[in-house]
Symmetry: C2
Subunit: 455 residues, 2 copies
């Protein structure tokens, strides 16, 4: 039977409805047709919050554990903390220990200690070992499930080892070959094993040049290597070359998604560290300094306007269009900024092509500036019945749109060319530049033709 | 030999240097130690643009073809158009036909026609077949390389078929089983094949419940299924269930990255369609309508300020702080917006938790509002030596920061809860709301205490 999207969706909806109606036993029966990831999605998106733990409690230890493993760590930790202690220990023991380590890391110490103490000794040791690696390292992200065989085995013996290995270990694309010190010395693919005679020594079959990551390497970089090489998994070794884990393609996908989101966060002046689950006091610490810096950046525009106080005193209505001019500049600039940051983050564009970016934004800016300036000029004239004011407002907006597009579209190229990442202040700096140009041109022009405006 | 990052980087740097010095033959020799993806990266990031085609021409037909296949389609198309016709045809013929189809789609008709005509008949047919699928469909993204065997084979015969299959086809994690009409009826993993007796009929081994995508299905949704199920590849079938291709985990990663970037683009009022390579005239069409809409959104703030013309005429310096108040509101709002859009896009947060988002942003907003308001109030007082003006400006900023944070942080939840995607206008609508609240409070307070300000 081919499982098409419609069929899977029908199952999922039925499960979600049953959970909502607190008919947990029936929900569990239907849910066996769904993957753990899909059940996790239902718990995230559709199930009422209060029904999540009761459903998991009735869903069997192993299934509940594997479903929890598919949830975001923070949410899984909440659920583990809510369940009773025995159940929570069962769940942690039933999931891959690398995931258990991530979830335990999200719990506060008082909740985590007793749960860890109750874990079977082997799981506890593995969780504790994995918790020792630094947060963004390959060691912290690796899975401890792989198949390694000694150098002196034959192909037939390796196949026997695969047969005997627990399923979680054996669900692999490669078998690694290690020496007596557990040092990684070779790798063979399942395909090569399958196509080779059983008596062939594995040392004659194995590939000896192996791309690896060290436990201390940056996990996102290791993920990038896994992906660009098209590997199904990347072995992770200690400084002494001992094989201790693997980074899978799924890990790579998760890591690269986070990295992409980080690179795009430059648009919104957001710290890479902040997520929805960051506690408010920490979010304040992360956001406040940038916004305080922004206050000082904005003083430039304030000073310029202050310098034109005399003009404003004579033609107060000039003030009405100030926010329009600065706001449009900011929005147009951030629009162009987004396109560039996105293309750079997705690796679509050569950083050397920034002159092309300048030319493109110039062309767009001239047309959009003229169009928006004309629109705004007409509106300003209509509102105030003052053609000169309309003309000045339109002209200032036109120039500001052009400047904002060019600056916004090219900033990320320059920042990356000098080796930095577009950072939290990119957006605020951009709006400062557009505020200054917009306000200067607008009030400057107004002062030049002041006599005409007052008349 | 373990290939650690440092070693690979040293190779890459040497290759980049040699290409830069136009020593193409030596560069090609060194580059054989690198993956095609890594060489592609060097051509994107490090090589001078003029050196790219000459290097590829000296690098051998197949290697050049597979390196081009790793480049973004737009850049690869540029290079193909630059090379002479014979070479370009060789390259297209040497790469996977699904990639060739993507590159041909980026070429203009006059360049593409003769190249297609020169392709070997089989490649041309495959490219043309793949080009017929809609842009974002699973059909357009699928790879035509997989191994399928008839129902009546034994395990031993399937292994023989794998041995005989061309490498590009056989580099697979699964073997598919099809009936006489090429309809997909089963799947076996390499591991199951390896662990089973050679005489076992494959129909007794195969799994019959198979997750599939239809050629017309949305490719990003299919990718999401591939990833959440932890599949190494997802079979793609026609309406008649005939197996025509597979979506690999690498395809899934690329698709999900683009989707994530799309979801985050709501922050910058950017169309999902626009990339660096969008021609200016098209970018204008995409951006102008939204910015014109933004002009009208901004009229709300303009009207409010106009209503306070009398107040402004008496205390012109009030105008100096208008852009500061609106700009801070916009930046704080977009900061909170980014955090929420990011957490939603990464699937970290339950959409049902928006009350939690409101509470969090309220807490942050009260503290940040008070802090930034106080800072700004002191600065305004220092600049104008007017305590009342400083107080008003600070109070308006404080309230505006609070409102901006709460609105920005919660908008994406409400939009997603009613089933929409955060769209291009999210940012502009947010800044409109913050402009209106900021300006009203600021000028409203100023009017109330006008006598004190004039004095």
């Amino acid at each position: 039977m081919l499982l098409q999207p419609e069929r899977m969706r029908a199952y999922a909806e039925r499960v979600a409805d049953l959970i909502g109606e607190e008919r947990y036993a029936e929900a569990a029966r239907e849910a066996t047709n769904l993957s753990h990831a899909r059940v996790a999605e239902i718990l995230m998106e559709d199930a009422p919050r209060r029904a999540v733990v009761p459903f998991l409690e009735r869903w069997g230890r192993d299934r509940a554990a594997l479903t929890l493993a598919e949830l975001p760590d923070e949410f899984a930790a909440e659920l583990v903390a809510e369940a009773d202690r025995e159940r929570a220990t069962d769940w942690l023991a039933g999931m891959p220990t690398d995931v258990a380590a991530d979830i335990v890391a999200e719990l506060d110490g008082d909740t985590a200690e007793p749960l860890l103490a109750d874990l079977p000794a082997a799981s506890r040791a593995s969780v504790q070992r994995l918790s020792r690696y630094e947060e963004d390292s390959a060691g912290a992200w690796m899975s401890p499930y792989f198949v390694a065989v000694p150098l002196d085995k034959s192909v037939g013996e390796v196949i026997e080892a695969l047969r005997a290995a627990p399923h979680r270990h054996a669900n692999t694309a490669y078998v690694y070959v290690v020496d007596e010190q557990q040092r990684l010395v070779g790798v063979v693919s399942l395909r090569e094993l399958m196509l080779s005679p059983a008596t062939l020594p594995v040392r004659r079959l194995m590939k000896r040049d192996i791309l690896v990551a060290r436990t201390g390497d940056n996990a996102a970089e290791a993920a990038d290597r896994t992906y660009t090489r098209g590997l199904k998994m990347l072995p992770v070794v200690t400084e002494a070359d001992a094989l201790v884990g693997v980074l899978t393609m799924e890990d790579a996908l998760e890591l690269l998604s986070e990295q992409l989101a980080d690179e795009l966060s430059g648009i919104g002046a957001t710290s890479r560290e902040e997520s929805f689950f960051t506690p408010p006091w920490r979010a304040i610490q992360l956001r406040l300094p940038w916004m305080a810096a922004n206050v000082f950046l904005n003083l430039a525009a304030v000073s310029i306007i202050s310098a034109f106080e005399a003009t404003l005193a004579q033609v107060a209505i000039l003030a009405a269009f100030l926010p329009m001019i600065t706001d449009m500049g900011g929005n147009v600039g951030i629009q162009a900024l987004s396109v560039s940051i996105r293309s750079i983050a997705l690796g679509e564009v050569r950083l050397r092509d920034y002159w092309q970016a300048v030319r493109k934004e110039l062309a767009i800016g001239v047309v959009n500036g003229l169009a928006l300036g004309a629109l705004f000029g007409v509106i300003a004239y209509a509102m105030e019945a003052n053609a000169l004011l309309g003309g000045i407002a339109g002209a200032a907006l036109a120039v500001n749109v052009l400047v904002a597009g060019v600056v916004g579209g090219t900033i990320p190229f320059f920042i990356r060319r000098i080796g930095l990442d577009p950072a939290m202040l990119t957006g605020p700096i951009l709006t400062t530049v557009t505020d200054i140009t917009g306000v200067s041109i607008y009030l400057g022009l107004a002062s030049l033709v002041l006599a005409g405006l007052v008349a």
